[in-house]
């Protein structure tokens, strides 16, 4: 075992530093959500009563939204990864090791090398990741050669190298199945590809097709109305209702269950997204290894001292960093209530807001929740903006790029972002009486 079983407890009040009395809060996963929770809670839980531990398998904290820009040489590799330890508060024990198993019946977590972590409260923040092995032929010999993903650092980087030397042909941007994290990323990818090849003066040599299992690239009435022209304007073809059965990498085509075929020279796919296998091993997940979680309180359905946040949950909200950010504020409050034995606040409304890159230096912003579809309006100040909802602008694009700074400097450090509230505001938005 390479880790000390306990962190030396040297600082702060001496009186209660008795390990038998100390309670344990353990956070699994030091990605966006886990890191935020560590930062939120460290200042709120009394240090002489609670010991906070966070575990992640990687030393590196990746800025995943940056993976969208990496293939197009807009961001460098350095801009999308940093040493994770920089973002974990010093009073939190940070363990870098793979988590083997959660044993809810015994309130403990087992790590890969054998150490056991007992907990009084557990927060599951292990996220979601791609599972290309779910589709026949996807993770075959052509993986990261002509079949790529951009949802991992390795995939985005391999694609960047490929694009740098590519002379053109059929580029297919494909979604395997829903739900995926950041559901608009594939569409943004297609828009950015259009710009990228235009700027390289070779757009006429590249044929871009967007393939989706859904009824269209846009699926909500308002968004379809406001945005569908983007695809036609940019000459991006759309193949809809395509449920992939296999990648025929020998003949460079994807084939669906209705025997429809789409040929490619480069396939950029978003494979099936699944929660970590840890969740399955621990018997805590659904079909896709997501943890059944109360959608308003973030307490897991099965265990009252286990909470879940971010992409790891089965919430019907978008899997996005912004969602994790809103959830973190509510979960912090609920953990404090849980400790005091008070009823949990039923508050999370599925609030999400996302910048959507549309290429050519422009972007859109959307804001929505469990019940409201994205509409037009302004954000965050009703009637003023400066950001426009559901409309392309340069300001929105600047917002998206600024988000990287906000992410590293505020978001994961748990600093409240001014003017943006955890639940959604309806002011300044153009809602109508809608039927759907």
């Amino acid at each position: 075992m390479s880790y000390l079983p306990i962190q030396p407890l040297t600082t702060f009040t001496v009186v209660n530093h008795n390990l038998d009395i100390m309670k344990n809060l353990v956070i699994l996963g030091a990605g966006t959500a886990g890191t935020m929770m560590a930062n939120h809670l460290v200042g709120k839980l009394p240090k002489n009563e609670w010991k906070i531990t966070i575990v992640d398998q990687y030393k590196t904290h990746y800025y995943q939204p940056g993976f969208l820009f990496l293939p197009f040489d807009i961001y460098t590799t350095k801009q999308v990864k940093k040493n994770g330890a920089k973002f974990i508060p010093k009073d939190v024990r940070y363990i870098q090791e793979k988590i083997e198993l959660i044993v809810p019946e015994e309130n403990k977590v087992q790590l890969e090398k054998g150490e056991e972590l007992p907990y009084d409260i557990l927060i599951v923040a292990t996220g979601t990741k791609i599972a290309p092995e779910e589709i026949e032929g996807m993770k075959g010999p052509e993986w990261h050669k002509s079949v790529f993903d951009f949802y991992t650092y390795e995939g985005a980087k391999a694609l960047r190298d490929k694009f740098r030397e590519w002379e053109g042909g059929k580029l297919v941007v494909h979604i395997t199945e829903m739900p995926i994290k950041c559901p608009v990323a594939p569409l943004e990818f297609a828009f950015l590809a259009d710009s990228y090849f235009k700027n390289k003066g070779m757009r006429d040599k590249v044929d871009i097709t967007f393939v989706t299992p859904l009824g269209g690239a846009f699926t909500k009435p308002k968004a379809t109305q406001a945005l569908h022209h983007l695809l036609t304007d940019k000459g991006i073809k759309e193949v809809t209702d395509f449920n992939i059965e296999r990648v025929d990498y020998e003949n460079n085509k994807i084939v669906d269950y209705a025997e429809t075929e789409v040929p490619y020279d480069i396939l950029v796919t978003v494979p099936t997204n699944m929660g970590d296998a840890l969740i399955e091993r621990s018997g805590m997940g659904d079909d896709l290894n997501y943890v059944p979680t109360n959608k308003a309180t973030l307490q897991t359905e099965a265990h009252e001292n286990i909470f879940a946040i971010g992409d790891a949950t089965n919430l019907p909200a978008s899997k996005a960093g912004s969602v994790a950010h809103f959830e973190a504020e509510i979960l912090t409050e609920n953990i404090l209530r849980y400790i005091k034995g008070e009823p949990l606040k039923e508050e999370f409304d599925g609030h999400a807001n996302c910048f959507i890159e549309t290429g050519d230096g422009k972007a859109l912003l959307i804001d929505f929740n469990y019940t409201h579809e994205p509409v037009e309006g302004t954000f965050p100040f009703p009637g003023v903006g400066p950001l426009n909802l559901l409309k392309e602008s340069r300001m929105n694009h600047m917002g998206k790029l600024a988000f990287r700074w906000i992410y590293w400097n505020m978001l994961i450090k748990g600093i409240h972002i001014p003017f943006v509230s955890a639940t959604m505001t309806e002011k300044g938005k153009h809602f109508e009486e809608t039927e759907a």
Binding site: M178, P183, T219, L227, D287, K295
Partner: protein, 102 residues
């Protein structure tokens, strides 16, 4: 908007999907299926049942889920609901079609 189907009046969106699941019953399902050129059989209903259960449990619907459910294999699913089986089956089941956030 309102739509009259058989004896009943239901509210649907522009594409014809029910906006209020509580208005659904089997007759309405049968009528919608007819409009889609589908004659319902026991096997069809078995799938509709499964889909509605997922919907009530707020679980996302996907081809994978259907494959895993053991109710039907995918080729058969396509054969029963030709041309966009999820799209058609959800419409008949009276639930929203699978969507993304925009």
């Amino acid at each position: 908007m309102d739509k009259t189907i058989g004896q009943a009046t239901i509210s649907v969106d522009q594409e014809g999907y029910l906006t209020d699941f509580s208005q659904w019953d089997k007759e309405i399902g049968t009528e919608i299926a007819k409009e889609q050129g589908i004659e319902m059989t026991d096997k069809h209903w078995e799938i509709i049942d499964y889909i509605q259960d997922r919907f009530k449990a707020e679980e996302p619907l996907s081809i994978r889920g259907i494959k895993k459910s053991g109710v039907i294999d995918i080729k058969q699913f396509y054969a029963l609901f030709p041309g966009g089986p999820l799209k058609k089956a959800t419409m008949i089941a009276g639930i929203p079609k699978p969507k993304s956030c925009i």
